[in-house]
């Protein structure tokens, strides 16, 4: 039973560039949530996708956008990268919307220089 997978593991980008992170949910899960975790902090909710639509969004600017595909996998896009976007980006999957048990992936470490 495959768990949540994310790619790439690490990424280094330059300020102003754009980045795309990818996530495949746990088998059988249809909902994907994205979180940003800065060093020494708890994960901060970015948004959640269900049925290929953004259902909920945290306090993140429009530079952060996403997509969910028919196979439930998801992408997180960040435009015009800032130094402050450097963080661990976590993807979590669950079955259905709502405050259900979420399974997290290992994350993508993004460094913006």
């Amino acid at each position: 039973d495959a768990g949540v997978t994310q790619s790439p593991t690490h990424l280094i980008k330059t300020r102003g560039q754009q980045v795309t992170l990818r996530c495949s949910p746990k088998s059988g899960h249809d909902t994907v949530s994205w979180y940003q975790q800065a060093l020494g902090q708890g994960p901060q909710f970015i948004f959640q996708y269900y049925e290929e639509e953004e259902r909920q969004r945290g306090n993140f600017p429009d530079r952060f956008s996403g997509h969910q595909f028919p196979n439930y996998s998801s992408e997180l896009n960040v435009n015009a990268l800032l130094l402050g976007d450097s963080a661990l980006y976590l993807c979590a999957s669950s079955l259905g919307q709502g405050p259900y048990e979420q399974y997290f992936g290992p994350g993508t470490r993004l460094t913006v220089t």
Partner: protein, 113 residues
């Protein structure tokens, strides 16, 4: 607004000691959900427990136990007979129905051999 406070930034105990991690939450809703997650050095968050606001019964799972007290808005986590493998960052989180999950800043637990 929702808020989760984990006042203990870092705790160190000697192996086999019991340790309690504190979590205090704020919410305006009468229906909400509380979670604990473990983040080992590998970085992947591991779900430990979910509790809804109508179930104040304490729970025990092996060496882990949780004490939920609505009167004090607390959801504390105790590890009995701690082991080195328990070393990790532990996050408490809160979610209202159909809303995002809010994480605390985490407590870094060191179990010393």
């Amino acid at each position: 607004a929702q808020k989760v406070t984990q006042a203990q930034t870092e705790i160190s105990v000697v192996e086999k000691e019991d340790v309690t991690l504190d979590c205090v939450y704020e919410t305006r809703d009468t229906t909400y959900y509380l979670f604990w997650y473990k983040q080992p050095p590998s970085g992947e968050l591991v779900f430990l427990i979910r509790r809804n606001s109508f179930d104040e019964q304490n729970e025990i799972s092996g060496r882990y136990s949780w004490n939920f007290q609505k009167s004090t808005s607390s959801f504390n986590f105790t590890i009995t007979a701690s082991q080195v493998v328990d070393s990790a960052v532990y996050f408490c989180a809160l979610s209202e129905p159909d809303d995002k999950i809010i994480f605390g800043k985490g407590t870094r637990l060191h179990i010393l051999p």
